[in-house]
Each structure stands twice: as C-alpha cells, then as structure tokens.
Symmetry: none
Subunit: 306 residues, 5 copies
C-alpha cells in the first residue's frame, strides 16, 4: 500500500492511466527509500556515452553488465537505468528484482562537429519486452537539432503512456545556442526542466545548477524579481519551482566523479532545496563496490531524513 506521500505525488499525474501511475508507484515503492517519495537511481549509460575504458577501467568489475544491476539492488536503489544492451544482458536473470528504466536514446563520443542529438537506440516495445517500469530519453535544449529530439520524444511519450509506462527525461542543455558555462547556468537548467515537463515528462533529470545566468533576457527577470540563486539550495528550489511548482519529480545527476564528502555536501543541498533525489552513475560504479554501496546509502539517508 502506497504511503500518503506517494499517493500525493501520484495525484499530480491526474491525466495518466492507472498503468502509468502503477509504474510510477513501483519506482517509489522500491528500495531503501520506498514510500518516501524520494529517489536514488543508478544509471549506467557511460559505456555508450564516454566509452568503456573511460567508464569502467577505474573499477574493472563494471565491464560486466551484471555488476551494475547487482550494485543497484544491493545498495537499495529505486531503479536501474541503462541502454538496451546492458538491460538485455541482465533483464532475464534479474527479472523482477528491481525496476528497470530503458534509456531509449544514446550518443557516443566518436562523432564530432554535429549539433548534439542522440540516436534512438531502443523502443517502447523493447521496454515492455524487457519488463521495464519506465523509458528514459535525453534532450539537449539549445541544440540546433532540438526539433528532431523534441518531436521524437513527444511521440515516444504518447506511445509509452498508451502501454502504461512513464517517461524519465534527461534534460541536458547543450549546443550552438549556449556557452559552455551556460549549460549549467541556473536560468538554463530551470528552463530545461520546464521544457521537459511541458513535453510530458513524468520525471526530469537535470544537473545541479551553478550560480550564473546565461540569457540576457532572463537576467533582467532574475534581477528585477530578486530570485535568490546564491546558494545551491536556493537554485534547487528555483529549479523545482520551475518544474510545475514542484508538481513534477525532479532529480539531479551526480555529475563528474568526485570525493565522497563533496558529493554528500552537494546532496544535502539538493535535499534541502526540495530535490526529489539523485541519479548517480560514475560516482557509484567507479568506486569499489562496498564503498559505492556505502556512499549510495549515505545519500539515501540524507533524502530519507528530509
């Protein structure tokens, strides 16, 4: 039976079918954070996105696809997210052990000089076949190939809804329209979260925003209305507000590998700002397993006490 908090979160998705709601509930009723409405998800798409050695050499057991799902299960994550191949390799043997999220598009680092746009590398049919609880999709707001991505996502969300699957959107601003620094500017991250929600995302993943405003027009608004963005907590609050005033689930990536202390401090700010959780890849699977499990549990503990 879902807790009152889970029921409350589900009530925000009033236009969705019971199937979509049931899968959202599965995500929220799994792992050590079950029932809290908070999330810690393990995503492992770096093999595709950054290449195997960059991803797995720091902790070689990670070359084995079984390693990650086991890590997610043992640590008590809400879900495990990966591209088709990694899920194919484990979905049979670990059937029913943890909710799976099929990352439906991916981009490798071998091509250069095109506007950022991931390839669609899986389907809603695959997600059903593999027993997934949700689909995942990356958009790059700011890319010159924006329309192609938004339109494909739009179609996938509808298709997924029809078979009872919610959608997790990775919203990563990037491309000709933005400076490098602007990719994590607070106005841009908040905007990306808003776009993902408007496109119909059930869960949005963004990077923790920096204390910087990229767009001139936005700057005027931030200054005029004195939107507080000085601390990470304040910036998280602003992003959560930008995601339908907190009525959509927004989770934050851990970003580049960093020290445990720094990471936990960052998580504490995210939690304090009303973030719904973390989706941590490299900071988890590039550590030795025991250490990773310990770290993930510390992260969970922070969210659990919020």
């Amino acid at each position: 039976m879902s807790t009152a908090r889970v029921k409350e979160i589900l009530s925000w998705y009033g236009s969705d079918s019971p199937g979509v709601k049931a899968n959202l509930a599965r995500l929220m009723n799994t792992g050590r954070l079950a029932g809290t409405g908070k999330f810690v998800i393990l995503p492992v798409d770096q093999g595709f996105e950054h290449g195997p050695a960059r991803s797995f050499a720091p902790n070689p057991p990670g070359y084995d696809p079984r390693y990650h799902i086991q890590l997610a299960i043992e640590a008590g994550c809400n879900a495990y997210a990966a591209p088709l191949g990694f899920l194919e390799a484990v979905a049979g043997d670990f059937a029913g052990d943890i909710p799976l999220i099929l990352k439906l598009n991916n981009s490798d680092s071998l091509t250069k000089g095109i506007e950022p746009c991931s390839a669609v590398t899986g389907s809603v049919e695959d997600a059903l076949r593999l027993g997934c609880a949700a689909i995942g999709y990356t958009i790059y707001p700011g890319s010159g190939a924006r329309n192609e991505q938004y339109e494909a996502l739009s179609g996938l969300i509808l298709e997924a809804k029809e078979v009872g699957l919610p959608t997790v959107v990775w919203a990563y601003p990037r491309g000709a329209g933005l400076s490098k620094e602007g990719e994590t500017a607070v106005d841009v991250v908040a905007y990306a979260a808003q776009v993902a929600c408007q496109l119909g995302a059930h869960v949005v993943k963004v990077k923790p925003p920096k204390n910087f405003v990229e767009q001139a027009e936005a700057k005027k608004a931030y200054e005029k209305h004195q939107i507080p963005i000085g601390t990470l907590k304040e910036r998280i609050q602003h992003v959560v507000q930008s995601a339908f005033n907190g009525r959509r689930i927004v989770i934050f990536s851990g970003g580049e590998a960093k020290g445990a202390e720094d990471l936990l401090a960052e998580v504490a700010e995210i939690a304090a700002g009303g973030g719904f959780g973390s989706i941590m890849g490299r900071n988890a699977f590039q550590r030795p397993k025991a250490e990773a499990i310990q770290l993930l549990r510390q992260v969970m503990d922070i969210y659990a006490t919020k």
Copy 2:
C-alpha cells in the same frame, strides 16, 4: 442553444463536419462572452517559449499549472490554451470545466541561429485523450523553414477535422524574409492572416498590426488603392477583411505586458475594427490574480458591447 450570431459564424464553416462545428460552438458558448461570437482566450505557453523565470517570476503562483486554468475559469474566458505538459497537469482534475486548446508545437529560446521553426510537441490523439475542443499551431510566415511548418500544419488540420476538432493558428511573421519591424507591419500581418486561412485555420491569432508597410510590391497596392491604415481600428478592419472578408475568426494577441489603460485602449480599437477577440497571456497571468480577473473582465465588457 446557440444564438443567431453563433449560428451565423458556424455557417461560414460549411465544409466542416458537425463535430468540428460543435467544438467551435463550445468555444463560443462558454464564459462571459458566451453567445456573442466574441472571444477572450487565456494562452500560457510562455513557460516553454520564454522560460519559467521570465514568465512566472512576475507573479509566482503562475509556476503552478493549476493557477492558469483556474484564472481562465474564474475570469470567464472562452478557452484555455497551453502546451501538452501544462494541460496534462490539469485536464483530469478540471475535466469539462473549460474548453481546452492543445498547442501542438512550441519553440524554446535556448536555440539560436536557426530559421524560426517550432517543434511538434503533441498530437491530435493527445488532444482527444485530454478532452480538448481544438488544437493550436504556430506558423512563422517569412521563415526559411516555412514549408516544413505549413506542411505539418496541413496534415494536422486534416487529421483534426476527421475527429471533429477545429484548428487555431498562431500566425507570427518572422525569419530571414522580414525585417524586425516588418514582423508587425500591416501588410505582413494581413498576409499572415490570409495564409493561415488558406491553410484551413478555423481561428487565426495575429498581433495587432503597426502603421508600417514592409513589402515594396505591397506598398504600391496600399498607396494606389488608398487602403486606410492610419489608425489601429483601420488596420484591424483591413486584417479582418484579409481573413476571407470577415468570414474567418481573427483574434489578436495582447503582446508584451503593459499598463491596463494602454491595453484596454488597444482592445477598444480591436473591437471597433471588427476583431473577434483577444488572446491575452502575459498581460493576464503576470498580474496578481484579482487584478488579472478584473482586467480580463474589462476586456470582455468591451467586446460584449460591440
């Protein structure tokens, strides 16, 4: 039972199915202007188009998607228009409370340097699923990506007609073919209205035209035939005439936020020129709610007494 005026307007759409006519009638038989054949519609796509802070910081309750539909209902608008995400967030809880218009394409402000072209972010199937009374679509006449937009719209209009939904077209001239000033030039706005009607739009939204003629060839015609364009009322008359001699519904945007007095003066000119109504976003939802309702009702009163 529709009034004689509503019946008259419906008679202009003689090639459409009863389903399309019934939904047009729903738009005209709702709110404080019910039965007059006039429209005041609340559109909220600025979160997508301009970003959340620029849109909602002036009046923070607007971060919450419920705020806008409640504002539209309380003010007595004919309809509420928004992108998929904002409608998903409210369509279930407010089912049947006000006609909804699903904005089927949207553009964010994060991408630069491409010819203006919105992404298709929803479908006719979504519109039915969400219980909408119409679909909406933005075209940018003057854009180098014009064909892509006109062709997608053309397909959506046919698809929508087949299931009984009319189409509202936002016609915003923009792109390489036009100067910045030309975007609201009277010849260009009138031309954009004509194009939208020729594409099959049931309702056309344009900006109030300025006293300026952009195109050299057009200038000759305006001068030779002494088309009066000196006052806003005259320019509105010309735009309405350009929309099949007044036999298509043409409504006007409120544009940038401005003082209530200026806005009401503008609306008075629009009404005097035969405009069918206003579609006001920022001038409504960026004001405190009570003030916004008062202003919207003042706007309605102007149209009601025409």
Copy 3:
C-alpha cells in the same frame, strides 16, 4: 465549473482519461438538471426498433428528425440519443446545441426467430465526426448471441475511451435464457446492470425492475438475506447497489407509453431509490410537444429535489 456533486461522480471513473471525464461532465452540466448529477435523456431509436408508424403516428411531427432534438433542447434534457440516420439529419444544423449520444447498434422488428442481437450500425469514428459526447450500445443479457454482443461492445468501449468518449449501455435482458416475465425480474435487472458495469459501461440504462425473482439460485439468496424488493424504491436501491454500490451511473427507461400520473409516480420511486435519472422516449415524443415538455420538466423537478 463543475459542482461538488459532479466532481464526486467523476471521481468514480479514476481510470479514465480527461477526455472521457470531460464528456461525462458535458452530459452532467447540460440542461435543467445541470450540476445535480441527475439525468433526463431523450432517446429516439423506436423508428428503427419498432417501425415508423408505431413510433410516430401517435404524434406525427415526430416523423421529422428535427422534432426530437428540438424537443430535447426545449425541455432541457441532458442529452439526445439516436441511431446514425437520425443524428446525421440534425447534427450539422444543431451543432453544439445539446450533447448527442450515437446509438451504435440497433435491431428492427422485421426479423423473427433469431436470438436477440442488434446489428452494429455506426462507429466510434461516426461519433467523433458527428460531434457526439458518448456512444450507446444495447446488450441483451440472456440471449444465445450474448458473446457476440459483449465482445463487440468490449472492443467499442476501448476504442471510444482512446478518443475520449464514454459509453452508455442499454442493458435489456432478453432471449432463450429468460421467461418473458423474467426480463424485468429484479434479480435479472440487477444482474444486467452488474454485467454492463463489468463490461466497462460508464452509464447503464435498465428497465424499472418488477417484484419478481426469475432465477432459482438467485431466489435463495434474496430470501436468505432478506433483500427488500417489495417496493419499486427498494428494487431501485438494489439495482443501484448492484451497479458497483452506486459508483456507476444507472438510469431507468420509461417503458411503454403511459399516463402522466403513473409515470411521475414511477419516477418518484426511482428518484427515492437513488436512481440517477430517466431516459424517456415514447412517453415523451408520442405526446404533443407542449405536453411532452411539461412532463419532462416535471420529471426533472422530481430528480432536482432529491
């Protein structure tokens, strides 16, 4: 804006899309009973079911399809229900004037000696094209052709849901499995209501049940548990309870033409027993128009004061 009662009724349909709910709301927000959650619907399928002279000779203006929709509008009914041809003949000219229900199957009285089974004479596509708010379908529980009917209905309900249309089921027990008297036996009517709800009907229409139990096995239960069925009010209560404990809308047919006094007495019992309304054909359209309007309004008044 829907009333609290309408919102409450809509909450019973929590697995349905906003589109289905919006159309249910349309049915409940129309006419003199708007907002009460009560229904008086005018159905005219007797031309098909009984033939033109038997149906319309008592009040010859009824030969004209326009007569009936005008009657429904003038009397303030929630909706008008008819087969394809009768709706085709009026849907264009009366677009948007009253919610329409397309009866998707019909049976004439010219064929003898087959198990009762109506022909499917329209489609969900027709319903959208004609701007209907719901589809209607007749099942004959007790018929040897039961499966054919249940299976077709099952497919239509799903198809209708996908495009935002609710389904009204006429549940008329009939066929080799039942005695003539058994067709309106209280156990059989209650059972038919339950079957319709289990098939996914949003609204169920049954005949007022008689004080008679048809099925031997059922009789034991009625006796053992002393289910009160002595008065019509008690039998209505039992049928409403049998329709998901009152969480599905159950309305009652007027049956054969009868005197106004008898009819109003019957309606008072239905209302007292918790019936959601009446769907009255012959008792309405076979009377002179003024008389029919007066009678329909008297019926509405009874429900309104419940």
Copy 4:
C-alpha cells in the same frame, strides 16, 4: 448552378461533406429531370439477380453491356446503376456521359434455402476507379442474415462518405420474418425505408407498397391513428413520411414488367404521393429501345409536371 429545389434537397444532408453533396447534385443535375429534384434511374442488375436469359432474352440487344448505358443516356436518365462487371465494360468508353451507381452487393438465383443475403461484389475503391457518383447496396429487412447486411452497409457508408460518395440503398423486405405478401405490405415497406434512412442512406429505393398491413403490432397503430393507406398515392405519402418526413430521397422500383399504361398509372400515383422518382429496370430494358425511351420519357414527364 443548382436550382432552388436542388439546393433545398441538399440542405437535408447537413452532416455530409461537400463531396457527398456534389455527387448528390450531379445525380439531380443530369438528364431530362435536371434541376427538378426528381429521379428516373436505369438499374440493370437482373443479369446477376435473375440470370441472363430471363433478363435479356425478351430484348436480346440487352445482352450487350453497352446497350443499357446508351439507353440511359438517350432516354435522359439521371443515372445508370449496375454491378461491377457491367460498369467495367462501359465506364471507360462512356466516361463522364452519365452518373454511374456501382451496385456493391448482389445475389444470384442459383442458391436456395439460405436466408436472403447478397454477396459484396465490389468496393468503394472500385466506385472511385470507375468514376461513379454513388454506391448502391441491397438490404433485406426481415432476413435472418440481417445483421451481416446492416453491418457491412454501415461500414461501406462511412467509407464512401470519406471519399465523397453518397449511398443508394435498395430496401427489399424479405426472409423468415415475413410472409410473401408481407414483403410489399405498406407497414413493412415504410419500415424498410425508415431502417435504410437510419442506417445513413442518402437515397432509398423501395417497391410500391400494397394495401395490406403485415405486422400485428403495426396494425393496431394504423387502425388507431387512422393512417390512410387505401390508395397507392396515400401509401406513397406514408412511405415518404416514414423516410424522415420527406427529408430523404425515396424512389420506387417499377417491379415486374407490365403494360405501359399500367406502369404510367402507377407512376402517376407515386408522383402524386410525393415520391421522388422511379428506378425502372425490366420495364425499360426488356422493351425495344425506341419504345423504352418513349416510356422512360413519359415517366419523366409525369415527374416533371409535379
């Protein structure tokens, strides 16, 4: 340019597309009766229905498919109706010379002992390919295979509407539910006309009704309401009234071959009763051509002076 009468008739089909109306107009704007809203159509499906010798031996040129279309053109008929084969044989050479009606189902006389049900022997696609102005379909109300026929017709009508083709329904009561005499009983013919209209027929063809009431329940209504059926004119009036109070086109078959005088007397009664025309096969093509033309023109003259 259509006459006021043709415009009036078209106005009865207010839910249809311009394409359907344009083809109805073609039928009404062709031949010697052009503009009158009256019809004389030549149908030749007897080769299929009765066999070649029974059909064509009385006038052997009729074995040649070209004979019939030439007869229809020369006589000045509104249209020529036939099964696929007969139309295939002439549609290319006579393209555009006269509106064609493709009879989409047919029954031969070789099979016995099954409930009457024609085979579907053509498609809407065939009708378009052959340049037809309408499709035709036969139903046998009273047949035990009624549902199969009504359902197939229902689908064809929708399909035809979508491509702008109206439907002519041959409504011939027949089957286990009826006595032989009952097939042309006035109550049964009127009922069959009503059923065809409810199914969505644009034009209904029935046989001239006899002074006989088949159904016991109907008999009560005819007696109680003193419906005049003593003369053919009165019975025609009743059938026309039964077809949506005269707001659907009802035409009458010539039936078995008979003397010219009898036939013209019958036509005079049909015309006097408000019948929209005649659809005469055997009485035309089984006569020598010159005689047939003369007779058809005499029939037209009767309708023209109504």
Copy 5:
C-alpha cells in the same frame, strides 16, 4: 453525352481509369465552352501567393471567397481552382455548381532567399472530401529544389489516379538555373511543358512564351532546324507540339493584369496556335464583376470559334 472532340481528347489518356477520364470529361462538359475541348478556368491563389491587398484591393469584393466561385459560375468557366482555404469556404454551399480544382501546393511572398519551392498545403483526401474534379500542383523547373517538387508531384499524381482524379500542373520555370528573362523563354516554356507531361500531368498550364531562347544548347537546335518562333502563334504551336505533339491539354495563363484589348489579342494568338485555353486569374477577378464576366466571355468566344 460527350462530343466527338471531347471523346477524341479523352482517347489520348488511354492508360487512365474511367474515373480520371470522367473527371476530365466533367471539366470539358461544363460552362460555355462545354463540348468544345477548350478551357477557360478561373484560378484564385493570389491571396496566398501575392498577399491579400495586392490581390484583392483592386476589386475589394474579391476578399470574400464566395465572390470568385460565383464569378466563375456566372461567366461560364470550365472550373474554379484555389487553395484549400478558399475551397473550404465555398465547397459546401456551392456543391455541384462547378468543377473544383484543389491547388495542392502554394508559396507565399514573405520568405526570401530560398530556392523556389511551394509548400504542400492539401491532400488528395481533401480533394475528394471537397468534391473536386482534379488536383493542381505547381512545379518550378530550374529550381535547385526541383527534385523535391517532382518527387512530391509524382506521388500525388499516382495517389490521385487511384481515386479517379486527374492532375493539372502549373509549370513555371524559375530558380537558380535560369535568368529572369529565361523564365518565359520559348525553349524553357516548351521544356517545362514537356517535363510536366512526362511527370504525368493531364493538363499543363504555362505562361505565353516570349521570342527568346535561353539555353545555349537549345539555341543551336532552334537555329539549325529553323523552328519558327517569331510570332506568339508560332511559339504557342511549338509549346503545344512539345506537349506530346498536342496530345496533352496545354492551357496558358493570363499573367499580370493588362488592358482588355491586349489580353484578347494575346488570346487570339493562343487560340490560333492551338492552345487549349486560358487560365485567367488577376485579369478576371481584379476587374469589376460585370466587366470581368464580359471579358471572360469574350475570351470564351475566341476559343469557341476555333
């Protein structure tokens, strides 16, 4: 019944279905030139192509879509051609009054700097729904976007053929491959006519060619073989010859508005050279109605006496 000349013209289209031929016959059997195999068609796409004021200010009743179809009917034209919106606005009310040609692609004058390429703004399905007798499509031979246009046209011609609709191709040389003068050079116009015929056009519209040869390679051939191109009559003969030796229908545009005398002199040359007719827009609808009708009839008279 078609005349011998109409039958002869139809015989050139021996690979086409009866449906396509019947619609070609409809075009040839309508209006004052019925039966002659000659054409005067009223096209009104200038609202889309040039903008409303440039098109309709010279004769303001032309802002109303009803004006043009009425003009075409009253003048006795063979057909009326327009984009979707203008046809939607009249097809229901004027159903069957004159053959309609749906212009399936259109270009506005607001976009600059792209290779000429019209947007596809309608479909074959629309043409059927609106009751059209043909589809129309513009190609710009010489454009860098040639393939896109030829390929879309090719698909549409096949699709149209399958449902019995012929295709009228506007062949307007234009684009990077040609000088401004070359757009009406005799070699280029003749070449464009040939291309249209090779693509499968049933009717080709070109501009009257000028006494100028654009292409160097072509120039050699014109000189070597002494092709007479000195008079307009000779150039017309050459273009007609280039359209399958006169076995495809070639009609000529009236071009820019000009004096009646000049226009009639030009038409006389076109007729003398074997042109099949004129398709006159601006020269018709930019004149006062009575004057336009007189002029159109004078044009018809010239063709009728050929």
